[in-house]
């Protein structure tokens, strides 16, 4: 084949990553470019396996190269390497093997934060990312129930916690350490210790994303988390109701004070579609979260419909992204997970990291 590497790269430079707003050659995505007699092959290394535009990018890249004179066949492989949001300065991090810790927050309880956290974690893991979930909702830890895990974590020889594995997600929860009829009635210092223990005292291993399910509101656990580690960012879950959104804004203000990027808002319990007659009902309103996101200038990650099946599958420990992946709700979770991964990638590329050279 008479086509040259330069020609191929020039053709590929026409393909842009819409989220990172640069062409894929200058982004360094093109790897293993080989020009054989019969075929041009290369791989595109994305910044996340959950990239929402991976299929379009693959097709655009293949087309661009196929259009070159003399090219007969094009073979494109998609790979990914997740970039860490904050530099894990050696020796100083509680979680050196975790690339991106993402807090899932809400202003008030009852908006479905834990169901959203669990399904997002599973959706990210389903794309091939290495994911963990830390259930930091010490007052009402529901992640093990939602995920349907009944195992207890084991300890390493050094008394470090080994997370329980469920469908590709590593899980640690306060619920593992409590009986069902026990309550956590603690003050700040105990909560702080627990947060640190769930971060630094767990064998998380190499993770692309750690989803941290927070208690509702703006209290000790949120503060401890933001003090203990540099978060990639926070996601706010809200229902469409004005009341919920007003309270959600308080969580946003808190994270901004703590210099934690807001990765976006998710509108949960959005429109209800009757499975019998198809009638649509906006039980908690609709569109409010998108408007709030626009007004505050933060990304809107998507809407999750209000569906009985979401609640049923959470109660049953068979989360909807696993048990009914073709349902509207499961697809919505997948879309939100992709948008979230894109936002994390965007921040990681901006590389705002404070260097301590002391």
């Amino acid at each position: 084949m008479s086509v040259t590497q330069e020609q191929v790269l020039k053709a590929l430079a026409q393909v842009r990553d819409p989220d990172l707003d640069r062409d894929i050659v200058s982004l360094g995505f093109i790897k293993d470019l080989q020009i054989g007699d019969d075929e041009v092959s290369f791989s595109i290394q994305l910044t996340t396996p959950a990239c929402p535009v991976r299929d379009q990018m693959k097709e655009q890249a293949a087309e661009a190269v196929r259009a070159l004179p003399g090219v007969r066949r094009v073979n494109v492989t998609m790979t990914s390497q997740v970039r860490a949001s904050v530099s894990q300065q050696a020796g100083s991090s509680l979680i050196p093997t975790i690339k991106n810790a993402i807090a899932i927050a809400s202003g008030k309880g009852g908006v479905g934060k834990s169901t959203v956290s669990a399904n997002l974690a599973l959706a990210l893991a389903a794309t091939g990312a290495k994911v963990g979930i830390m259930d930091a909702d010490v007052y009402g830890p529901s992640i093990p129930t939602i995920l349907g895990t009944t195992e207890m974590p084991e300890l390493t020889d050094e008394q470090r916690i080994i997370p329980v594995q469920r469908s590709g997600v590593a899980v640690v929860s306060m619920a593992f350490f409590m009986k069902p009829d026990e309550a956590v009635i603690w003050r700040g210092p105990m909560l702080h210790k627990t947060v640190q223990q769930f971060l630094g005292g767990v064998e998380w291993g190499q993770l692309d994303y750690l989803i941290v399910d927070l208690p509702p509101g703006t209290g000790d656990v949120q503060l401890s988390l933001c003090q203990s580690i540099p978060l990639a960012g926070a996601v706010i879950v809200s229902t469409p109701q004005d009341v919920a959104l007003n309270v959600a804004q308080k969580a946003i203000v808190m994270f901004k004070k703590l210099n934690t990027p807001i990765l976006g808002i998710i509108e949960n319990m959005s429109e209800y579609v009757c499975p019998h007659c198809g009638a649509r009902e906006e039980i908690f309103g609709s569109g409010g979260a998108r408007q709030t996101a626009e007004r505050l200038g933060i990304p809107f990650l998507g809407e999750i419909p209000l569906a009985t099946a979401v609640r049923q599958t959470s109660d049953a420990g068979t989360p909807i992204v696993l048990s009914a992946p073709d349902s509207a709700a499961a697809k919505a979770f997948t879309t939100v997970a992709e948008n979230l991964a894109a936002q994390v990638s965007i921040r990681a590329m901006q590389g705002e990291q404070v260097k301590v050279t002391f």
Partner: protein
């Protein structure tokens, strides 16, 4: 990328054996004399959270106090380990920028502004 309101450093390091240098995202450079930073420790043991009154006497801090280590606290602050053993202060970036000696005049008794 300013979707947070907090002034953010790019680098925190030494100006010399005693003083700390912070280079900010907007290009500004702040140099904090060690004793001044130590005397303005914002921890609850050093300053009354309600009244803002200093709770520790300047005389209790050695003249040659210096920082031995600095860690990031989340994404919004640093903590400093001092040579006199004190280490509970969390110095938020916002507070540090407000305290920048070249930007604000210090009062003679080193009270926080």
């Amino acid at each position: 990328m300013a979707d947070t309101q907090v002034p953010t450093p790019v680098e925190i390091g030494r100006a010399n054996l005693f003083d700390i240098k912070v280079t900010w995202q907007d290009g500004h450079e702040s140099i904090y004399p060690a004793r001044h930073l130590r005397l303005n420790c914002p921890c609850a043991g050093c300053v009354d959270e309600v009244t803002g009154q200093r709770r520790m006497a300047a005389a209790s801090v050695p003249e040659d106090v210096k920082p031995l280590g600095i860690q990031l606290v989340g994404r919004y602050a640093i903590s400093i380990q001092w040579s006199d053993g004190h280490n509970t202060g969390i110095y938020a970036f916002e507070m540090l920028r407000k305290m920048c000696p070249c930007c604000r005049p210090q009062t003679s008794d080193n009270r926080p502004q």
